[in-house]
Structure formats: C-alpha cells, structure tokens
C-alpha cells in the first residue's frame, strides 16, 4: 500500500477516535469543564498527565538532544522527571484538598489578594501561550511531512480537531482524549526502538539494550560509540564536558519549573481524593518513564547507526559514496533537514568533526565535514526508515507525533481558558455571573485561545526557540515558590508573596533578557550570551532555580517586616494540610 495512504489511515483513525471521545464526554457543568467533576480514576489521570506533559519536544526532539550531546544532556532526563517528586510531595495533594479549579485561584485565595491572583494569571498566560506555540508548529510540521499537505492546512486541521473536543468536553473531554493519545504515542515511540535495540544489541528491551554488547563489535554499545566518536574527532558520548555547576542548576530549574507548570498542576484537580493525587503522580511518572527511559537508548543507538551507515567498513576505512546512500537519506534530503556537500569532490561522504579533525583526515584529502546539515528532530521521525521497518510503523509515528503535540496543546489551552473565564471573570470582574454563563464564557475563551494559538502557530514569533526556557524560568521563579509557601508556611502574608513573585519573576526576566535580548528581539541584548559574561558562570537557561531562591528570600524578609497572615487564613492552611474532606469539598 502507498505510504501516504497508510499515514492517512493511521492519522485519520486516531482523529476519529478523539472526536468520538469528545462526543461521549460532553461537559454539562463548570465542574465538568474545569476538573472533569473530580471523578477521574488516578491511574487514568496518570496516563492523561503523561500525555499532557510529553509534548512534541519530548516525542520528537529529546532523543536527538541526547544523541548529539550524550551525557551532558542527561539534564533533560532528570529535570523533566524529578519535578514529579516535587509535585507528589510538595504541591499536588494540598492543592487537591483546597478544591478549586485553577492555580491563580489558590494563590488569590491563600494570599487573600486580587493583586496576587492577577500576577498569577499573567504568569500563567505568558508561560502557557509561549508553550502552546511550539505544540502548534510541531503539529503543523508533522502534518506537512507525513500527509503532504502544506503547513497552514495541517495546522488548521489540527486546530479544528482540538476545537471539537476541548470546546465540547473541557477537562472531561481532554482527559479521555489524552488517555487515548498516551496509548497512541507510547506505542509509536516504543515499536521502532524495540526493533533498533534488537538489531544493534539483540536485546528487545531498549532500556537494557543501552547497557548491552553491540552485535557488530562484541564490545559494550556505549564503549563502541565512545571509540568511533573519538576517532572521528568528536567528544566521547559518556564523558562530562561542560560546567558541573551549570549542569546542577539547569537540572534543578527544569525540576522546579516542571512542578510549577499550571497545565500539569490542574490535572491533579480531577481525582476524587487527596490520596488519589499522590497515587496519580506516581503513575504519571511511570507512564512518562516508559518513554523517558527509551529515549536515551534511542539517542545512543541512532547516533551509532548513523556512523556505521556512513562507515560500513569501520571508521578507519572509506565512507560510503553519495550515490550509494540509503533511501531514508534521500527522503530527508528533500525536506532540507539533512544535507550533504561533497567538499573534496571524491563522491564519498565524510562525516567527522572538522574543528578537531582526526590525524588521518589530511592525508586522505578530507576537506571538511560533508554532512553539513543533520537536524536533530530527524532521529525519531526517521527511525522506522533507518531500521527498515514496514510502512505502517511510519504511519504510527505520524499519529504518535500528532498525539504528543495535540494532547499538550489541549492541556495548555484549558489552563489558559480557565484562567480567563474563572479567575478574570468569575473571581475578579463579574463575580455575579451564573454557573451557566460561566460555562459559556469558558467555552468562548477556549475557542478564542485556540484561534489565537493557531494564529501564533501560523506566524511564529522569531523567539519561538527561546520560549521553552522562558516558560520553565517563569514557572520556577514565580508560581512554584508562591504555591509552596502558601502550603508550608502558615504565616506567609500577601505582601510577602507578592514581593517574592515580583523579585523572582523580575530577576529571571532581567537575566534572560540581558543575554537573549529584550523580549528576545535580536541585537537588544546588553551582554553577549557567552559563559565568560555570565554572572558566576550561570547560563540564562539555568537561572530559574536562582530566581526561585530569590523569591523565597524576598518573601521571608518581607514577612519579617509586616504582619503575619490573618487567623482565618492560617486556619485555611491547616485545613489543606489534612486530607480528610476533599471529596466533600469537590463541588465548590
């Protein structure tokens, strides 16, 4: 069967499933729309959280990020999973007990302040909107690569599907589509990985294959990979090459940022009891780990696979000629994501590190690395072709990439629309609106949020690549400390929390903009973004953790100088520390 038809069948069937679920899970009340009436099974919520969390970046880019850096990018693996320990122990159970619908709702009520609520709304909107751009562009790319429609059409189809289930079903519809999307994306990710692991190591489990012996050399896979990389002038894969301090700080920023992302936190509002919130966090991490433990194996194996494809006789021998390159390289060259340039006109493909060329490069007449472009995102998408798997696996990858992008987009859109209809309208500007009007307002905000996200996806701002750092930095330096102090300090008052958020957010934005440009406008940065210029060697991407610490310090200093929180607030804090009564409190 034609590959295009196969892709169409897989993507079409998955979309039909999502829309079917949307019709079944129509929201009838605001509690349905914001929190799926708090009736979601904790294991189901774990899977939905995993899909909500794992974005187009996790599915498509992460294995490539690890493959081309090796050990140094373990930061993503630890950082994006370690946040769930923080969620399970420091935030989720108490926020569930509090029993409201949004993150700003907690901050506004706990710090008895409209200013605090609005600051939380603004942080939420900035981080969620920047984050959603990446999902929409990711969906557009997947469409244009696999379904041969142009980017715009692809994006509009994706937006239409999200529109149906998010506007109709709200959190209820999103939860059950995310469950289906998790199943689609994990199958799509695992199948090619299993085949590649079998081919390279004979071990069907990629998680174990990474530590097994390489079939070709009889030596451990990672040792073989280190050897061939060093012979070609690259850094070894398992070695530690960057700054240790930055590695710790970046990992910590990702962990705190993960725990502070509103679209992840609100998933824990959907389970019936406090104990379920803890259980759910555990299952979420199990489901995430199914992908996150496969990704480093895919990264290492794909890197080795590329080198052995180019040097079939070993790196000491001649590489393959351009005319004999495999079909998958031809396919990807057409997209421009992979490109070769025969610099010495010998018809062969030399792939090595021109910055640090091996001794034999000059004597063989090599004049530079000839694989001039290799986009990291190709790795996962081209895996089925590299491993020569049947066409239906490619169709599955297409459906999986779209599932990852759409599930995260839907979660973000819900966080955005509930902040508008609940925090801005119901809790701030029009407190008297009825339940029915609020539900209508929620649907309208959702529709506007989708339209706005689609527009941003079609006209992505130039800074799109930087925004993930911004989103994590903001979440780490503003929302996480505020929520944590709201639970773990009975006396923290509104002034302290507000000053803390201003200092955390302000310092993080200032630090990022200093090196990356004001609002990411090119050439407006005040200092060049190089390690020599960084304050104490801290990279702007790692600053979120520092911002969080500054937030805590500023808040406590302010608390010492002002009156502690009133008695009724201290009682509120005592009540959210105790699980009993969360079920009864579910109909706020």
């Amino acid at each position: 069967m034609d590959q295009f038809v196969l892709n169409l069948i897989f993507v079409g069937a998955s979309f039909a499933l999502y829309i079917g679920i949307a019709i079944w899970a129509k929201a009838g009340s605001t509690s349905d729309f914001y929190a799926a009436s708090r009736g979601v099974n904790p294991v189901v919520n774990g899977a939905a959280t995993a899909a909500d969390w794992m974005s187009a970046a996790s599915f498509i880019s992460m294995a490539g990020l690890i493959a081309f850096v090796g050990y140094g990018n373990s930061t993503f693996l630890m950082g994006w999973t370690g946040g769930y320990v923080l969620l399970a122990m420091l935030l989720a159970p108490y926020l569930r007990k509090f029993g409201r619908f949004t993150v700003p709702d907690f901050i506004g009520d706990r710090f008895y302040s409209r200013t605090a609520r609005l600051m939380a709304v603004v942080s939420l909107l900035v981080m969620s909107i920047t984050y959603v751009i990446g999902q929409m562009t990711g969906a557009g790319v997947a469409f244009s690569r696999f379904l041969e429609v142009d980017n715009t059409t692809g994006l509009l189809i994706a937006a239409a599907v999200v529109f149906v289930y998010a506007v109709l079903g709200g959190m209820k519809g999103i939860t059950y589509t995310q469950l289906a999307q998790y199943v689609v994306l994990i199958i799509a990710y695992t199948i090619p990985a299993v085949f590649i692991s079998m081919q390279l190591t004979g071990n069907p489990l990629p998680q174990l294959g990474l530590w097994s012996d390489h079939v070709g050399s009889g030596e451990p896979l990672l040792k073989t990979l280190n050897e061939v990389l060093v012979e070609l002038g690259f850094q070894d894969y398992t070695g530690h090459h960057g700054s240790t301090f930055n590695m710790v700080l970046f990992t910590l920023s990702l962990m705190i940022g993960t725990a502070g992302l509103p679209h992840v936190i609100i998933r824990f509002f959907t389970v019936p009891r406090v104990a379920d919130a803890r259980t759910s966090a555990g299952w979420a991490l199990v489901f995430i780990a199914l992908l996150y433990t496969v990704a480093p194996a895919v990264g290492a194996m794909a890197r080795l696979n590329i080198i052995t494809t180019i040097y079939p006789e070993g790196v000491q021998e001649q590489p393959i000629s351009y005319d004999e390159r495999p079909d998958w390289m031809r396919t990807w060259e057409e997209t421009g994501l992979l490109a070769f340039e025969d610099k010495n006109n010998d018809g062969l493909i030399q792939y090595y590190n021109s910055e640090n060329p091996p001794a034999f490069a000059a004597e063989r007449g090599w004049e530079g690395n000839e694989m001039v472009t290799f986009n990291r995102d190709i790795l996962v998408l081209a895996n089925p072709e590299i491993a020569q798997l049947p066409g239906w696996v490619i169709g599955l990858i297409a459906a999986g990439g779209l599932a990852a992008a759409l599930s995260t987009a839907a979660g973000l859109l819900l966080a955005i629309s509930s902040a508008i209809s609940h925090d801005l309208l119901k809790r701030t500007f029009t407190p008297n609106i009825s339940e029915k009007s609020e539900l209508l307002a929620a649907r309208i905000s959702m529709a506007f949020a989708i339209a706005f996200a689609t527009w941003l996806g079609l006209n992505p701002p130039g800074f799109a690549a930087q925004v993930v750092a911004l989103a994590f930095g903001l979440a780490a330096s503003s929302l996480f400390p505020a929520i944590m102090m709201g639970i773990f300090s009975k006396t923290m008052n509104s002034t302290g929390a507000i000053v803390g958020m201003v200092v955390g957010l302000g310092s993080t934005l200032l630090y990022i903009f200093t090196y990356l440009g004001w609002f990411f406008i090119p050439d407006t940065n005040m200092l060049a973004n190089t390690p020599d210029n960084w304050l104490f060697g801290i990279s702007p991407l790692s600053f979120g953790a520092v911002g969080a610490v500054l937030n805590f310090i500023a808040a406590y200093i302010t608390l010492k100088m002002t009156q502690e929180a009133p008695a009724e607030i201290q009682e509120l804090v005592e009540s959210i520390r105790v699980p009993k009564g969360a079920g009864a409190a579910s109909d706020h």
Binding site: M78, A88, M89, L210, R273, G282, L285, T293
Partner: protein, 84 residues
C-alpha cells in the same frame, strides 16, 4: 482533629518529605552529576555507574520514592484518622 494531633501529623509528613527529598537530590545531583567521579570505579555496560544514574537510575529512584511516600502517607492518614 485536635491541634496537637494536627501538628504531629504535619511534623511526621514534613519529616518523611525531607528524607525522600534527600534521596531525590542524592541520586540526581549527587550520583548523576557531582559525585559521579567518586563512583566511577563501578562499571556498567561499557561506562560507569554515574552515567547510569544520570540517564536511567535517577528516574527509577524517583518512581520508587513517590510510591513509597504514597504508601507511607496512606498509613499515616489512617493512624491519625484523616483518611477518606
């Protein structure tokens, strides 16, 4: 629930959280990054144990920590009669 028993429940919770967070930091920032040279003598699959912690071991420990905390807290909730 009396004030003293609420305080005791919260103290026990903070204590178990502190223990779990210490392990959380030890396996990721410790074994995975800063202490990696200390355990580099232990080989695994062509590399050293610290690399395993950075790429896989810390994630598996995180899962174990959350489920241990869940089990411990369910027991604590029942002991203090605050479970649902």
């Amino acid at each position: 629930m009396s004030d003293t028993s609420a305080a005791a429940y919260w103290k026990a919770n903070v204590r178990i959280i502190s223990i779990c967070m210490a392990i959380w930091a030890l396996v990721s920032f410790g074994f995975g990054i800063v202490l990696r040279p200390l355990i580099s003598g232990i080989p695994i699959g062509g590399t050293d144990l610290g690399f395993w912690f950075a790429q896989q071991g810390s994630i598996l420990t995180f899962i174990a920590l959350i489920f241990y905390y869940r089990w411990y807290m369910n027991k604590l909730d029942r002991k203090f009669d605050v479970d649902e």
